[in-house]
């Protein structure tokens, strides 16, 4: 704070209903690229960013979307606690101007908290299209808060918003209007107010009226904080009286009056010039959520996503492979005399083999995330939840659980975060625990290496589907099991807003794709690189004494491997994995895969690397020589089911709030993988024995 009493830094919260465009506004203000999407519940955690204007710093916080400020869902609690405890200097309520009445419901509650409020009328473009005209000046006067029209996606109005935020923080702005609830409710509020203790911190910050109103609404958190027998008595009495008079609970009455106030304000200030329904969305929905056609259409969409990922992704993948082979050869050819051969081996057999083996799958990953981004941005995600509701009910979950599962095909970590959209804890835990069975993008590397190694071209597509379907099938079995044992409970019905369809912008899709791709590359350049170096060393040292080395390069390499640390560890664990058809090489690769799934491929390329031959086809030849098709299949099966990667376990621990769930996930899936692979391998051997 400087001498004039003015701070140079202000805390600004972005609040608003789900899907109103808060994150888009946040990104426009701070110049960041947080994840947005066209369905409610994209942002589940509050995010902070900085925005500078005229020498002042605005600390902007993007809150999860909420419909109101009650204490019933996690998002509401996060948002409300932030507002109550951090006391932001300005709260920007991002409302969807094309859907004003519903969105103002939250604004009214913010007004009642007497927070310094700015209303951002986002989606003004959509409102204009629908023929809505606002008398902003009058509406602003009625609500007692400045209003800034925005089109956040285009950055329109953002400068004005910044200026308004500063003005609101530094000057005293109009007091928000007060809603009157009618004689009976006002009398009840008055009675509660009269028994409230003036010195209670809650009342000192938010006043008697707000506290009394919240108590009358039956807010459990506030009740707990006030905790006075006298207040409880009065509360009980007035609630009973009101219910008797109106045949309606007080909270319903309060909500009705709020909507009444809003519709009164809108009646005077909002004009609809043309009567137009959103018929485009209606027509799309008639087909996409159709009783019979809905499910097949969904299947086709998924097919397209995976076709893109694997079939189209195969071309650029080939170019990248050629690039890495060329790079390895180049280094090999021009390696300066006199510089240690060990460093050359580290570069070629460790770094290029390990990291290159993973990076060649970048195109597939990019395309997979492009597909998912399209589903997210178009508005289809919420429809998928509707379509799948019936099927999901059969396994004790509901349609909304399907959204995180779909995201899980990209990566388990954001998928587990996304389970926050599920209100009920048991449903949420069950969904969280099985998400690793949705085969994630990193596992594509394993299938991409092994399927072409063992299966002829026409069978490759079906094999890929089989693997994915096995994962889904096992997830279904596990959820049913969990829901009838550990996480038993009625499935709570869900409600969800269906956003209007929007044509995703090319820019938005590409940015999203690039962000995910960059994460993948960064992981390859850090975790995978580091682990590759470790693995390289572990497969190279200690070296066997010179005098026992046999002739022939590949024999030499084999002996070196047997002698190395990795070889010894692998040999030690071999008895445990032999029944699954795995040898020590696969065993050590599995250890790598537990850190990050991509490490399987890195590790295999390091184990098999013979300087200068770094392309996948070579690697596949080696693998084909050493293993049977059944073994190859078992490896994929095991990697599909087993040991979620370290990041997944960590995020499960955090989101479930207890180690036991993370350990259950880790242990349970590993045990399941062992069991299934054991059955398949031994069963497969038996069959081939009998038929031979």
């Amino acid at each position: 704070m400087d001498a004039s009493g003015k701070k140079a830094e202000w805390l600004v919260a972005l609040a608003g209903n789900p899907n109103s465009g808060k994150t888009t506004v946040f990104n426009a203000l701070t110049g960041t690229r947080q994840h947005t999407g066209n369905y409610p519940g994209v942002t589940v955690e509050k995010k902070e960013g900085i925005c500078r204007i005229d020498g002042r710093t605005l600390r902007i916080v993007d809150l999860p979307g909420v419909y109101s400020l009650t204490a019933y869902s996690m998002e509401e609690l996060v948002a409300r606690r932030f507002l109550l405890q951090e006391k932001p200097d300005v709260v920007v309520d991002v409302v969807d101007a094309s859907n004003l009445e519903r969105h103002l419901y939250l604004a009214v509650q913010l007004m009642e908290m007497k927070v310094p409020l700015v209303l951002a009328f986002n989606m003004s473009d959509v409102a204009r299209q629908r023929g809505l005209e606002f008398d902003l000046e009058q509406l602003s006067a009625l609500l007692g808060a400045p209003i800034v029209p925005l089109v956040a996606t285009k950055g329109e109005g953002i400068d004005e918003l910044k200026k308004t935020i500063v003005r609101c923080a530094e000057q005293v702005l109009p007091v928000p209007a007060e809603i009157r609830y009618g004689p009976e409710l006002e009398e009840a509020i008055g009675k509660i107010e009269s028994v409230l203790d003036e010195d209670h911190p809650l009342i000192r910050s938010y006043g008697r009226r707000w506290t009394a109103l919240k108590l009358l609404e039956g807010d459990s958190e506030i009740q707990e904080q006030i905790r006075s027998p006298q207040v409880s008595d009065v509360l009980h009495q007035v609630r009973q009286h009101l219910t008797a008079v109106f045949k309606e609970s007080p909270e319903v009455l309060i909500a009705e009056r709020r909507y009444g106030f809003i519709s009164g304000a809108c009646q005077e200030t909002v004009r609809q010039t043309v009567l137009k329904r959103q018929d485009f969305s209606d027509r799309m929905d008639a087909v996409l959520t159709h009783r019979y056609a809905g499910l097949p259409i969904f299947a086709v969409l998924m097919y397209i996503v995976f076709y893109l990922t694997f079939q189209v992704g195969a071309w650029p993948q080939g170019w990248l492979e050629d690039g890495f082979t060329y790079l390895a050869q180049l280094i090999g050819r021009f390696w300066p005399e006199g510089v240690s051969g060990e460093i050359k081996s580290l570069l070629i057999d460790g770094v290029i083999a390990g990291v290159g083996g993973v990076v060649v799958f970048l195109p597939n990953i990019l395309l997979l995330f492009l597909g998912i981004a399209f589903l997210e941005d178009s508005g289809y995600m919420a429809r998928a939840a509707f379509i799948m509701d019936r099927l999901m009910h059969r396994i004790g979950l509901h349609g909304k659980s399907f959204i995180p599962m779909l995201i899980g095909f990209g990566c388990s970590v954001p998928a587990i975060m996304a389970t926050r959209i599920l209100e009920e804890r048991r449903t949420r835990l069950a969904t969280m625990l099985v998400i690793p069975l949705m085969s994630c993008g990193a596992r594509i590397t394993i299938y991409g290496l092994l399927i072409p190694a063992f299966f002829p071209a026409p069978l490759r597509g079906p094999m890929m589907w089989l693997i994915y379907l096995i994962g889904i099938g096992l997830a279904i079995v596990c959820v049913r099991l969990l829901r009838s044992t550990l996480l038993k409970g009625e499935s709570v019905p869900f409600v969800m807003e269906l956003p209007p369809y929007r044509l995703p912008t090319l820019r938005g899709l590409l940015l999203h794709m690039w962000d995910r791709g960059w994460l993948y590359l960064r992981k390859a350049g850090t975790v995978i690189l580091a682990l590759s170096v470790v693995m390289w060393a572990a497969t190279r040292y200690p070296r066997p004494p010179k005098d026992i080395l046999p002739a022939g390069e590949s024999q030499q390499r084999r002996l070196e491997l047997d002698y190395s640390l990795a070889g010894r560890i692998g040999k030690w664990m071999e008895p445990a994995i032999r029944p699954l058809g795995f040898d020590w090489k696969i065993g050590t690769a599995m250890i790598g895969a537990a850190m990050a799934k991509e490490m399987f491929v890195s590790q295999m390329s390091i184990v098999y690397s013979i300087s200068g031959e770094e392309d996948l086809e070579r690697l596949r030849e080696h693998i084909r020589r050493d293993y049977s098709t059944l073994q190859g299949f078992c490896v994929m099966l095991f990697c599909l089911i087993s040991t979620p990667c370290v990041a997944t376990v960590a995020v499960t621990r955090r989101e479930s709030g207890a180690w036991k769930w993370a350990l259950l996930q880790f242990g349970g899936l590993t045990a399941l993988a062992y069991l299934v692979t054991l059955l398949v391998y031994q069963g497969g051997r038996l069959v081939s024995f009998l038929t031979a």
């Binding site: 909420v66 419909y67 109101s68 009650t70 019933y72 869902s73 094309s98 859907n99 009445e101 519903r102 419901y105 939250l106 609404e217 039956g218 309606e248 609970s249 909270e251 319903v252 909500a255 009705e256 909507y259 959103q278 969305s281 209606d282 929905d285 959520t289 009783r291 919420a382 939840a385 509707f386 509701d389 019936r390 009910h393 509901h398 349609g399 909304k400 499935s491 709570v492 019905p493 869900f494 409600v495 969800m496 807003e497 269906l498």
Partner: protein, 82 residues
């Protein structure tokens, strides 16, 4: 015998697509009532049923918003003709 007034009270799950009805009451707990209120579902609001395949899940239009009510939820909303 049912009086005509009682007869006209039904649950949202029984309303065929294309019809508009008025929400009368939410037969659910405190939390559900408040949550639905936040989405615009308060007594006396008109609801247009957009999709009802008699399988439980329903899409309704409330003001300008489409809302999916999953299985089991539509049986908790009592409605009456406008």
């Amino acid at each position: 015998m049912e009086s005509p007034a009682e007869k006209s009270v039904r649950f949202l799950s029984q309303v065929p697509a294309g019809q508009t009805v008025r929400l009368v009451r939410i037969a659910g707990g405190h939390g559900l009532t408040l949550r639905l209120a936040g989405m615009g579902l308060v007594p006396n609001v008109p609801l247009e049923v957009l999709r009802n395949d008699s399988r439980g899940q329903i899409i309704v239009q409330v003001k300008n918003t489409k809302i999916v009510l999953g299985r089991g939820m539509s049986e908790k909303l009592e409605v009456a003709p406008l």
